[in-house]
Amino acid sequence: MSQGDPPESESIKSRRRANPSSWLELTDNQTLPLVVDALLDSPPGKEYNKTELANFAGVSRESVREHIETLLKFGIVEEVDDTTPTRYRLNDHGKATVSLFELNSALNSVASGEKENVELKQSEQSDADPLLENRSRLYDTAMEFGDQLGENIG
C-alpha cells in the first residue's frame, strides 16, 4: 500500500457506505436513531408534525425533514390522512416497527442481565402480539381477568 492510500479498514467502510444495507441506512447517522427512539417512546397513536417530532426527538427540524422519507420508506412512520401540514405517526403494524420494538426490548432485557428470560419470552411470544413484551403480558393478564369475570357472571 502506498502512502497516499487509505487504510484498508477505511476503504471497506467507504464501500459499505457507498452501498448501504437497510440497517446501515437507518443507523449510520447521528440524528435518525434519535428520531426513531422518540417514535418508539411515543404514546400509542401520537401524531406529530415535523417540528413537534424534532422537538420530541431533540433534533433540528431540518434533520426530521431529511429523514422522514427514510422512515416512510421503511414503514416506520405513516402519514396521517387529510392533514396540512402533513402529520406523522408511528406505524404500529409496520414490519420494521414491530422488529424495532422487539429488538429494543431484547437489548434492554439482555443489558439488565435477563438473557435467559428473553429467550423464554421470545419462544412464548412467537404467536402473540409482537409489538411489545409488556403489551403481550397485559393482554394475557386482561384475558385472565376477563375469564374470571365471565365465570362470576355465571
Partner: protein
Amino acid sequence: MTSNSTQEHLDIASDYVQKIGDEIAYQQTVEPTNGEEFEVLMCFKGDSKYGIYGFPDYDYLSIVFEYSLLERLAVSLDSETIENHTGEYVDTDEIAEVSPENTGDGEIIIGAEQDENPPEIRAAKSIVESIDEEINERFIFDLFQQSSYPQVSTEIKRTENGYFSGFSIRRKIFPDDSGFNLTEFNNSVQSVVSIGVFAENTVIESLGEKMQLSSE
C-alpha cells in the same frame, strides 16, 4: 353558576373542538351533592367520547377520557343475574347509563346520579369483587403501566374494596397561557383519547366476547 373565565375557557375549547374536526355532544352543568358545581363539554373524536371539564376558580380545563367497567357491566347484565347477586329484581329495560359527577375536590366519579348505588351497579361490583385478588392486582398494575405516559395523568379506579372498576386518562390545558394554541389543544386531545382508547380496547377485548360489551 359558571364563572366567566370558566365559560370563556370552554368557549375557546368548544371552538377548537370543531376546528380539529371533533364533534360536541352537549355542555352540562353538574351539581354534585357535595362540592362545587362544574361544567362538562362532552365531545366525540370519531366514536370515542371525551369530556372537557371546567372548574370555577381554576385556570385550567381538564380533558378527560373515562371508562367505567361497573357501568358497562351494569347495562349488560340481565334481570336474573342482578337478582342473583343482590336479591333485588330490576327491569333491565329501564336501566340507563349514568352521568359523571364530581366529589368536589377535583376528582370526577361516575355513577352518583339519582340512586348512588342501584342494584345493577351493586351486582356489577359483586361480580368484579369475586375476581381473584392476585389477578386483579396484576391486571391493574399492567394496565396502569401500559397506559402511563408523561403527557397524561392515568388513574385506575377501584371499588371500595380495591377491585378494578375503570380508569381515567386526563390532561390539563391552560387556555390563558401564551403558548396555548390549536396545535397544543389537538395534541392534548389526541394524547388523552389515543391512550384512553388503547386502555379501553384492552378491557373490551378481554371481556367483549364473554359479555358482549362494545365500545360506543
